[in-house]
Point group: C2
Chain length 543, copies 2
């Protein structure tokens, strides 16, 4: 069972050092501290355990150290920055684990870019040694890349020539779409096992600069200092501590304070319920700061994020997640109102950005989602996004009992999908005016109004409800899980494309395909044979 919670005092592979506005995140992977058996993490190569720490550090820098303006990512190992994902780990992992590993590491790198773009924390990759494969992919997720010029250190993406797989942690996409490297040069670079050193790498736009060993630390430090000095943004005074989540784990699921995950293993589905705040929520910044990580939108979404990761990696057989909410609509809307009123305050900004990332994690989760809207639920404002992110939404139509949903200003753009649109915009691509109409509607939507507004898929009445939901669940969980994954990945992301959707859609899909190909993972495949005395044997048919 993989645990996604950690904190700096527990890190085994990273050192986080904060000095004023500059954080240094140094990779120093412990070879023997692995998540699974059968491999050693040599040369700062990483497994999921290493990346969970990195993801934690990126998250904490935003909440706990808002004073940080530049994050330098480097390594404590001489002459090596990072050798990328551990090949033996990949070679011995199941297909599902490889896919989940890549998805999580991709999300970590997108979180770095999100921090840079939205939280004003600029990431500098200080490559004090060779960065190969996932090592260079980590660098290219940073804003700037500097490489030591020691006659030896290089950057490389050796996945294609050495392993028969892709630089699938965003590498290929960021080469041509983020750094906009000329495609023929990207082709040469991606097939060159030994990679490129400083001069050529700079010429081709793969790095931003290179310095001789003797001046490397100093030159990077001077550049970092110049960024800090040029930075005009208002400095936050002190951060908010992210304490460990309290979760009660049982065979049947996980019970957090606001989130409950109930596994129905026989039926291969889960109920995932988010509760509205149970007490009065604060309305002022001072109260929010005092509450810190106990403030509902932060705590509930941290819990939701953890539950989603758990579902993905530890509960592979669960194919369908029924999204439910419990509580008062007014309480959720009050939270949104407060968040919207203070959205320019750094902490509120970070809370909203975190909610958005969690919802994107949901969009990218390879499970089916049905939202079930029943009496006592509170699909309102930020929680309405759960219904909008679901593959389908069922809302009870019961004349005896009121069932309602509601929108808030947070549905208007604060919680964007990976494609850059709101979930309402994505839903109403054919009739954009329907998205506007949701906000022109006064008050809550009862079932009929919600159906008319296009917010729900089906609205069975109380006589049909139970049967219809049961049949829908049974039907969904009977279908091929692979076909569903491909279908959902296609239907969820209509409209515009971004770097993120290209990574999760195109690049990931090709990588998953290759991960299934005998040329990579068969007994004589390149990934299987890496480091062995045997040579890979390819079936050279092009497909």
């Amino acid at each position: 069972m993989v645990n996604f919670e950690t904190s700096p005092e527990m890190y085994r592979h990273w050192k986080l050092k904060i000095e004023g506005a500059v954080a240094t995140l140094s990779m120093d992977v412990q070879e023997d501290v692995t998540l699974n058996e059968g491999y050693k993490l040599k040369l700062n190569s990483y497994d999921l355990g290493v990346d969970i720490e990195l993801a934690d550090a990126v998250q904490r820098l935003r909440f706990e150290h808002p004073e940080v303006e530049v994050v330098v990512i480097s390594s404590l190992k001489p002459r090596i920055f990072c050798a990328g994902a551990n090949i033996y780990m990949l070679g011995t992992s199941s297909h599902a684990f490889k896919v989940n590993f890549c998805k999580f590491t991709n999300e970590t790198r997108c979180a770095i870019e999100d921090a840079s773009m939205n939280s004003g924390q600029r990431y500098i990759a200080a490559l004090n040694g060779t960065a190969s494969g996932g090592g260079y992919e980590l660098a290219i997720a940073c804003d700037e890349i500097y490489l030591v010029d020691d006659g030896n250190s290089a950057i490389s993406l050796p996945e294609v020539p050495l392993l028969g797989v892709l630089p699938g942690t965003g590498g290929l996409t960021r080469l041509v779409d983020k750094r906009k490297v000329r495609r023929d040069r990207a082709d040469v670079f991606s097939t060159l096992a030994e990679g490129l050193k400083g001069k050529r790498a700079k010429e081709w736009g793969l790095i931003d600069g290179y310095f001789p060993t003797s001046k490397f630390q100093e030159a990077v430090a001077a550049h970092v200092q110049s960024i800090v000095e040029g930075n005009k943004r208002q400095k936050a005074e002190r951060g908010v501590k992210l304490n460990p989540l309290q979760v009660e784990v049982s065979d049947d699921g996980r019970e957090y304070k606001y989130v409950q995950l109930k596994l129905n293993r026989d039926g291969r589905y889960a109920d995932l319920t988010v509760h509205a705040p149970q007490a009065e929520t604060p309305t002022t910044i001072e109260e929010i700061e005092t509450l810190g990580d106990a403030y509902w939108p932060l705590q509930a979404y941290r819990e939701l994020d953890d539950a989603l990761l758990h579902l993905r990696v530890n509960q592979l057989e669960i194919g369908l997640v029924c999204l439910r909410t419990e509580g008062k609509i007014a309480d959720v809307l009050k939270v949104d109102e407060t968040l919207a009123a203070h959205q320019d305050h750094w902490l509120v900004r970070e809370i909203i950005l975190h909610m958005a990332r969690t919802l994107r994690r949901l969009d990218l989760t390879a499970k089916s989602f049905f939202a079930l809207i029943e009496p006592g639920s509170c699909f309102a404002g930020n929680l309405l996004e759960l219904a909008l992110s679901a593959d389908r939404t069922y809302m009870l139509n019961d004349p005896e009992e009121k069932v309602e949903v509601a929108a808030s200003i947070l549905n208007k753009g604060a919680l964007p999908m990976s494609n850059g649109l709101t979930r309402l915009q994505s839903r109403f691509l054919a009739e954009p005016e329907m998205a506007d109409a949701v906000f022109e509607h006064e008050g809550t939507f009862d079932t009929e109004a919600a159906e008319e507004a296009g917010l729900v898929t089906f609205a069975p009445d109380d006589l049909d409800w139970e049967d219809e939901i049961r049949v829908a669940i049974e039907e969904r969980t009977s279908l091929s899980p692979d076909a569903l994954t491909g279908m959902e990945a296609s239907l969820r992301f209509a409209g515009p494309e971004t770097l993120d959707t290209k990574i999760y859609g195109r690049l990931t899909a090709w990588q998953n395909w290759i991960f299934q190909r005998p040329n990579a993972t068969g007994p004589q495949g390149a990934l299987t044979n890496y480091g062995k005395p045997t040579q890979p044997q390819f079936d050279y048919k092009r497909t």
Copy 2:
């Protein structure tokens, strides 16, 4: 060996009828006329042979029948429009064949949309019976869809629920991105084996109308007539006949008039050479019309298209294609000048559109391409696109012998890639001014100028040339063909995304992944078990 050449008098599965401005293309698949053994084409299901005829018809309508303004696609079988790709054919095909089959059928459907958008031939799907799977995917590639309302006929995408694969011939993408069907409805529709009938299908935007059986023909005909009457475009007088290509086939390759394909089977690469026109080319429309399909840009690109299809489907082991040209740069530029001068004439427009489609076929071919620019070559104007479409370009730098390339106005937008950009724009995403500079340059580019302008990847001198090319070819063909396919699909299409790139990138990649999954194609997979007494057995782990 699959042959991609056909013509209406040879069709076995389609009837093409022209009446004034209206063409009717009726599907009447002969069960026993199959491309391979082991299946029957029941219920207007199709294999590659059926689609080759459709592609031919779509192409001929543009060249031979420019007077046609509306193309009605229907079926001659009672109560069935088309049951989609034949499942038994898919179930018994190799992975590579399935992938190539899907790619070709996708290109045919994109060609329909290209004809509609650029040639003013509007496509109407007249569904006189059920359209399932690929049948509905064909319909959704048309501009409008009308369904008979006979209490029985439905549209459906049953791939996910019945076969454990995707509606991968553009189906899922066109649902949400072309027709912009609401994603939750698309989800329901794509998991509903029996599909939807007229009323609900119209409500959800899946069709444009439905008519009772007794009025169906009449209603469609009236609508078609209203389109023709409302059409103001200038009518072309007569078309140009597309005669069969003359090709000499040998063990070593294919010899056309202007295109030569030479296979180096041992080295797993091919030389594909395009020759410039050998005689004076015409400059007036009258001369062009007289030449017809013998006019160089039409004949050479038809030959190139055929060679590419042959390479894809019949020469799987060829992993690399070396693109070469022979002839005088001035002769090629003269053709471009003539085409540009007459680009508003329907025939010239069609010739240019065909060149663009052929070049896009090249972009989408799962082989590596190296352009080799040597003395006597003519990578100029439209043929410069070959160099720009290559994964890499090598240009000889020889002080003794002049080697040159040149741009023409046709490089400025007439030959767009699937992403909507020119190949120069795609190349210079980081520095758009470099694309402009190509056109500001006077005259041809010698090797040094071409290198400086960013048009070539490497410019070895005469001492190194032979060795460098040999090593590059050997290295390329030694790599995993699957990793190369995924890499090239990622690096070739930087920048914006379109319906087409989404289909060939995202949807195709997911489909290819699923085609490899035991849940689809394993001994107990859904595709393998379709129509058998045994039930598919799924591994329900979600990935």
